[in-house]
């Protein structure tokens, strides 16, 4: 509890302020009027329901791919926080300048989030497809349909089981729909990609042909994915789903930065013996160091303490100089206020105590938390580790091993003194008698 007390005392102003009750985020939905009728009020398609659900939480703008006035970016700022790209009937769209591949990349570089919805019977605009390919997601072409003759529902569509959800993705835990009618994607080994829904072993993606060969198929077995996420290094999020039926609420929340969003509120380290002095710049070898961080999670529009649910997602700290000398799991201490004087306990404090290695040099407290589906947390603090000062070593008589040596050195001195005295004495008495 002493630690918590000092935390309250020193929680720094550098940790950015509690996210204000932010303005409603906005979203732009781009669609093809030839495929979907989203602008009329009495539309009852599932996409219209999706959009009206979105409107509960976001300021939604719906525009057609034919609208040439679309602007994703205003100068370098986002015009919309989130972007939804629906299927198109043709590859070439009128707004190809505004929604070009380059503009989409700029958009995610400016922390925009992109949700791409695929379809078995239509295409994605060429720029969107190239953009996804560049990220390492390769959706199946038009008229390629994901099929699985061993898992078929009564209506003749593919039946999805809970096993299709990729374990540990931290984005979607279960599917609300059990039927699937759409395409599938191949993915590259891009490590930022988060596979969400995977094909079963017996599933494949093929065109409407009587026979299967390399030209009429796209994926075989577990190499196919029905929903794929991606979190860029700046925490911008992209997702592709093979069918609008996979537009799970969880997934949309994740893409639009409402779920799985973490924030590092503060990072401190100190000597164990003197925790009231935070972030000392110098440590001594073999000292006890204490490393403490506060992590919040964005829940229902405000920051809340982040609790690690799964040991695989444990927070870890590295104490490293080129190599990590220590790599330790951080243990939760309890909720605390991220800013001094705040009434709300909005952050979870994680901490670990360890022994500074017996090696002097420039060390880094490194936090590098990259788990699929969760915001990346990174921090590094450089400190000096010094060796023992001249007067910090043990004296020889404190070490029992050396007693013999100390005693014998003393004995030599004593014997030497006795020798000198005797030598003079013996010399005086016998000098006359003896000739040498």
């Amino acid at each position: 509890m002493i630690r918590l007390t000092w935390l309250f005392a020193v929680v720094c102003f550098a940790a950015s302020v509690l996210a204000a009750a932010a303005a409603t985020p906005d979203a732009l939905v781009l669609f093809d009027p030839q495929l979907h009728d989203l602008l009329s009020q009495n539309s009852t398609s599932s996409l219209s329901k999706f959009i009206s659900n979105l409107e509960l939480q976001y300021k939604v703008t719906v525009k057609s791919y034919d609208d040439e006035d679309i602007k994703l970016l205003l100068e370098d700022d986002l015009a919309y926080d989130n972007l939804v790209l629906l299927p198109s009937s043709k590859k070439a769209i009128a707004a190809k300048q505004a929604v070009s591949q380059g503009q989409l990349l700029k958009y995610i570089n400016a922390h925009g989030n992109v949700l791409v919805v695929g379809d078995a019977t239509s295409v994605l605009p060429e720029s969107t497809r190239v953009f996804l390919n560049e990220l390492g997601i390769y959706p199946s072409p038009k008229n390629f349909r994901y099929q699985d003759h061993f898992h078929t529902s009564d209506s003749g569509k593919v039946a999805l089981a809970p096993a299709n959800v990729v374990a540990g993705n931290n984005v979607i835990s279960q599917l609300s729909t059990s039927e699937y009618d759409g395409g599938a994607a191949l993915i590259s080994n891009n490590e930022l990609i988060i596979p969400l829904v995977q094909s079963s072993k017996t599933g494949f993606t093929a065109g409407n042909k009587e026979y299967l060969d390399e030209d009429t198929t796209w994926t075989f077995g577990e190499q196919g994915f029905l929903a794929v996420g991606l979190q860029a290094l700046n925490n911008a999020r992209v997702a592709w789903v093979g069918s609008e039926s996979l537009l799970e609420n969880e997934l949309v929340q994740w893409v639009f930065q409402q779920k799985g969003v973490l924030k590092l509120q503060f990072v401190h380290h100190s000597r164990e013996e003197n925790p009231a002095v935070p972030d000392p710049s110098i440590y001594r070898v073999k000292e006890q160091a204490l490393y403490t961080i506060g992590v919040s999670e964005w829940v229902d529009g405000k920051w809340a303490p982040y609790t690690v649910s799964n040991p695989e997602n444990n927070l870890q700290v590295e104490f490293k100089m080129l190599d990590p000398y220590q790599r330790l799991d951080l243990k939760p201490l309890g909720p605390a206020a991220s800013v001094d004087g705040l009434d709300v306990l909005d952050t979870q404090v994680y901490s670990v105590q360890f022994t500074v290695p017996d090696q002097h040099g420039m060390f880094t407290f490194g936090l590098d938390y990259k788990r699929s589906g969760l915001s990346y947390l990174e921090d590094s603090k450089v400190v000096t580790v010094r060796h023992l000062a001249n007067d910090e070593y043990k004296r020889s008589w404190d070490i029992t091993n050396s007693w013999l040596y100390v005693a014998s050195a003393g004995l030599v001195v004593v014997a030497w003194f006795a020798f000198v005295v005797n030598y003079i004495y013996v010399g005086k008495t016998n000098a006359a008698k003896k000739n040498i």
Binding site: N401, L404, V413, F419, Y423
Partner: protein, 135 residues
């Protein structure tokens, strides 16, 4: 020293003649040569104690003491390990250094005042350094 060597040679010569003189039982031969050896040692010892000055004897006694102490520390460091290595070096070097200085004194015994002064001065420096090195 010269007298001692002469005594040893004499003893060896005696052993040789007696060995050539005796023909027959092996054990008798061996016990005889042991007797000769002891006789040689006692002759040497007597010679040593009668001819050497007390100063030389004192120096030799101190030399033996230093060797014994050095051997003791060396055995100890092998058995226990060299953890406070500076302490071992300090203790051991004080023995070795004192030994060297003492031998120098013994060699220069013909100029007693000068050599003894040098000896005391050098020993003081040695013990000063050892004291600080042992920490």
């Amino acid at each position: 020293m010269a007298k001692k060597e002469v005594a040893i040679k004499k003893a060896q010569a005696q052993t040789g003649t007696s060995a050539s003189g005796v023909s027959g039982v092996q054990s008798k031969k061996i016990s005889n040569s042991f007797g000769e050896l002891f006789a040689a040692i006692s002759t040497t010892y007597n010679d040593y104690s009668t001819t050497l000055t007390p100063r030389l004897k004192l120096i030799d006694l101190f030399l033996v003491f230093l060797v014994a102490l050095g051997v003791l520390q060396f055995v100890y460091v092998i058995l226990v390990g060299n953890f406070p290595f500076n302490a071992f070096l300090g203790g051991f070097i004080s023995c070795v250094g004192q030994f060297v200085l003492l031998v120098s004194l013994r060699l220069q015994i013909k100029t007693p005042e000068r050599s003894f002064g040098d000896f005391i001065f050098a020993s003081l420096i040695l013990h000063f350094v050892v004291y600080h090195f042992i920490n």
